[in-house]
């Protein structure tokens, strides 16, 4: 099953390499990984999406918790949560394609953020499925370049991940 694990990590050099190292060392999957500082400058927040059986996921969370620099973590997929990913896509856009692409971008509530005579650059945010859906709708033949940030997530409601 696909899981989104959110981790508060000491903002120290080398901390990220321990997390990444753990995944490769123990043969766990990483689908995406994002990391950035938080409002507390001593902490970074890392979100990793992974897949595995319940047993593997349990091991992943336990092994992550064992890392000295992991302060706290939560498996967001255990409860209601919001996940978002940002994508920038360069699309071939000439002639009649231009109006067609514009319509599709609107349906997906994206934005065209850069334009040339033959290329549109589109920005789109949403869960990973929505981003996949957009690419599918456009058709891969028109896609020149894709960059995705990877998933970040947060729990719904009152629940917070903090110290």
């Amino acid at each position: 099953m696909r899981r989104i694990i959110s981790v508060l990590l000491e903002n120290e050099p080398g901390a990220l390499s321990r997390v990444v190292g753990l995944f490769s060392q123990r043969n766990y999957n990483i689908e995406s990984l994002t990391v950035a500082p938080t409002e507390d400058e001593t902490l970074s927040r890392l979100t990793v999406t992974t897949t595995g059986s319940d047993k593997v996921i349990e091991q992943i969370t336990k092994q992550l918790n064992k890392l000295i620099e992991v302060v706290k973590l939560v498996d967001l997929t255990e409860g209601a949560h919001i996940e978002r990913e940002l994508m920038l896509v360069k699309l071939k856009a000439t002639g009649s394609q231009r109006a067609e692409i514009k319509r599709t971008v609107d349906i997906f509530r994206g934005q065209i953020v850069d334009v040339t005579s033959s290329v549109y650059t589109v920005q789109l945010a949403g869960d990973s499925e929505k981003l996949d859906g957009f690419i599918q709708a456009i058709g891969t033949s028109g896609v020149l370049e894709v960059v995705r940030t990877g998933v970040s997530g947060i729990a719904r409601g009152e629940k917070v991940l903090s110290l």
Binding site: P13, S17, K55, K62, I68, V71
Partner: protein
């Protein structure tokens, strides 16, 4: 406050941490530190002949005393030479701190002379590692390093120290922190009361219970609590290779150790049990055999300080995270208070069954009128040292024979590399023990293959007068490899012979020690007695043993725990 250089702060921190001995080897990046060492005499340095041996020495010391060992090496090759030792300690959860020199911080990343990314290289085999970024951090990092190494599930910690962190003429205020603050590291201090209660209820209701104890009991200093609980319940107990000594081997409730080369009765009792109380062990693949066939009728209570060890390979019905001593103590008081008592009839018939298994095999082996059997050497050594020696071993058949036939009644006496299986461990580990236990008998049981992996340490033994006894069970082969080739590769002995063996007697003498060769069965006892009488001499005893012997029992690969070879021809 005192002003000290980074190097002086480092050595002072070691002293304030209570470190008496460090084991190491100097080199460029560590020279400021070695100079600081020279200018004091409280922290003593042992100069080994290879950095790997320094780590095993620290490790042997830690296993025998329960206190963290300390290593000091230079950058680059000095640091990389420690890796096997660190991995050995990591796999067996041994507390130690390894201090590594590093090129100056201004040179890091430039492929400077003797630069290795020790943080990166060591990361998968340490509990944690630190890189010093400012000299003022040194006391705090050292304090944290020892704290992390020794608490929770222990393990090795590396501290990487760039040379400019120890510059002699840059001085800083020194004070050694009393407390450690680590918001993200809080090992459990007690088990969950509800879970413990549940476990005790299950224990008292069991019909075919068994206690399966591991190295965690030794590391967690919980032998007394375990022994008391097991005696009170009257249940059978087995332990892992790492747990040897956590319960007296000579006691009738003890079934010997379990797993690949465990006793017939221990493996049979595990397989047929209805309840397993696992304490400080981790269901290693050398114990469980095929996990899908593991103990089909057993429910499992698993006590461990490390939550990640629980339900990793075998699912626990009742997981209990906590220090084994505290959890066992709580179990004990609950058992004492409880109105329920063990089911006497069920337990009696369980013992009857176990005693039949015991009688069926025991630890028999075939003797010969003229060839020395490795097993009888160990049995004799056990008798001649009253079962009270510290015994280190290397890796191979000799290791299994030592563990099977030397009966340990105390913890911290059987010292071996169980998790990583590191040939070359035995001699330096024995040295680390002898240094701090000069009046105790320290035996290194080894093979002619393994001993050559750190033979250079005979020189260190001379320098520091470490009269350990090296018992070389010389079968003129990489015996364990050869055994597997006999059993799985139709005796195609690919690279498992040790050709052109040195004359170990002359070798020992060249290093200034005594060498004794034993190749006649009738000489065995007298010569061993003579060897043990040479209290202040390192003696290398080269014993020519049966070249064709195999270690049995041996679990059948991919079988259940109960599937074993009992000799070359008997399979159950």
């Amino acid at each position: 406050m005192e002003l000290l250089s980074g190097a002086d702060m480092l050595i002072r921190s070691l002293k304030d941490e209570g470190i008496e001995y460090i084991y190491g080897y100097p080199g460029g990046a560590a020279l400021h530190i070695y100079d600081a060492l020279f200018r004091q005499d409280e922290v003593k340095h042992i100069l080994v002949r290879h950095e790997q041996a320094a780590v095993h020495m620290a490790d042997g010391y830690a296993r025998a005393t329960g206190k963290p060992g300390t290593v000091l090496v230079t950058s680059g090759p000095g640091a990389t030479n420690t890796i096997t030792g660190i991995a050995t300690a990591f796999m067996d959860s041994i507390p130690m701190v390894v201090l590594c020199g590093q090129v100056a911080s201004t040179l890091i990343g430039e492929d400077a002379f003797q630069e290795t990314d020790m943080m990166g290289v060591s990361r998968p085999v340490v509990k944690h590692n630190f890189s010093v970024r400012h000299p003022e951090e040194i006391p705090e990092i050292i304090r944290k390093a020892y704290y992390i190494a020794a608490t929770g599930r222990p393990g090795p910690v590396v501290v990487d120290i760039p040379k400019d962190m120890t510059t002699p003429n840059e001085r800083y205020e020194y004070s050694y922190p009393k407390k450690v603050k680590l918001r993200s590291y809080n090992p459990a201090i007690r088990g969950h009361a509800g879970q413990i209660k549940k476990a005790v209820d299950m224990l008292l209701a069991a019909k075919r219970p068994i206690i399966y104890a591991g190295g965690g009991v030794v590391l967690g200093k919980a032998s007394d609590q375990l022994t008391e609980l097991v005696r009170m319940l009257g249940y059978p107990i087995t332990n892992t290779l790492m747990g040897i000594g956590c319960y007296p081997a000579s006691d009738k409730q003890h079934l010997g150790w379990l797993g690949m080369h465990g006793t017939y009765e221990a493996n049979m009792a595990m397989h047929h049990s209805d309840l397993i109380l696992c304490v400080g062990a981790r269901f290693d693949d050398r114990v469980t055999n095929a996990t899908e066939k593991f103990c089909p009728g057993a429910r499992i209570i698993h006590v461990d300080i490390d939550p990640a060890s629980i339900s990793k390979t075998i699912d626990a019905d009742v997981p209990i995270v906590g220090p084994v001593d505290a959890v066992l103590k709580e179990m004990l008081s609950l058992v004492k208070e409880s109105k329920e008592k063990p089911d006497a009839d069920a337990i009696a018939s369980w013992w009857k069954q176990i005693d039949e298994w015991r009688a069926f095999h025991g630890m028999r082996y075939e003797t010969s009128p003229d060839v020395i059997k490795p097993q009888e050497v160990i049995e004799m050594l056990c008798r001649l040292t009253n079962g009270e020696a510290f015994v280190t071993s290397d890796v191979g058949q000799h290791q299994m024979f030592a563990a099977q036939y030397y009966k340990f009644d105390k913890p911290n006496r059987w010292i071996n590399s169980g998790g990583l299986g590191t040939m070359g461990f035995g001699l330096p580990a024995a040295m680390g023990i002898k240094l701090t236990h000069p009046d105790d008998e320290v035996l290194c049981i080894t093979g002619e293959g393994s001993i050559q992996m750190n033979i250079q340490e005979l020189s260190t033994c001379k320098q520091y007068n470490l009269p350990v006894k090296i018992i070389n069970l010389n079968n003129q082969a990489l015996g364990m490899v050869k055994q597997w080739q006999d059993m799985n590769y139709e005796s195609r002995h690919s690279q498992s012979y040790m050709e052109s063996l040195p004359d170990f007697i002359k070798l020992a003498e060249a290093y200034g020690h005594v060498g004794v060769r034993i190749d006649k069965k009738e000489d065995l006892e007298t010569k061993l007695k003579e060897v043990l009488a040479m209290k202040d001499k390192l003696v290398f005893v080269d014993i020519y043993v049966d070249r064709f012997e195999h270690v049995y029992p041996m679990q059948v690969a991919r079988g259940a725990m109960k599937d074993m070879w009992l000799s070359k021809t008997e399979r159950v």
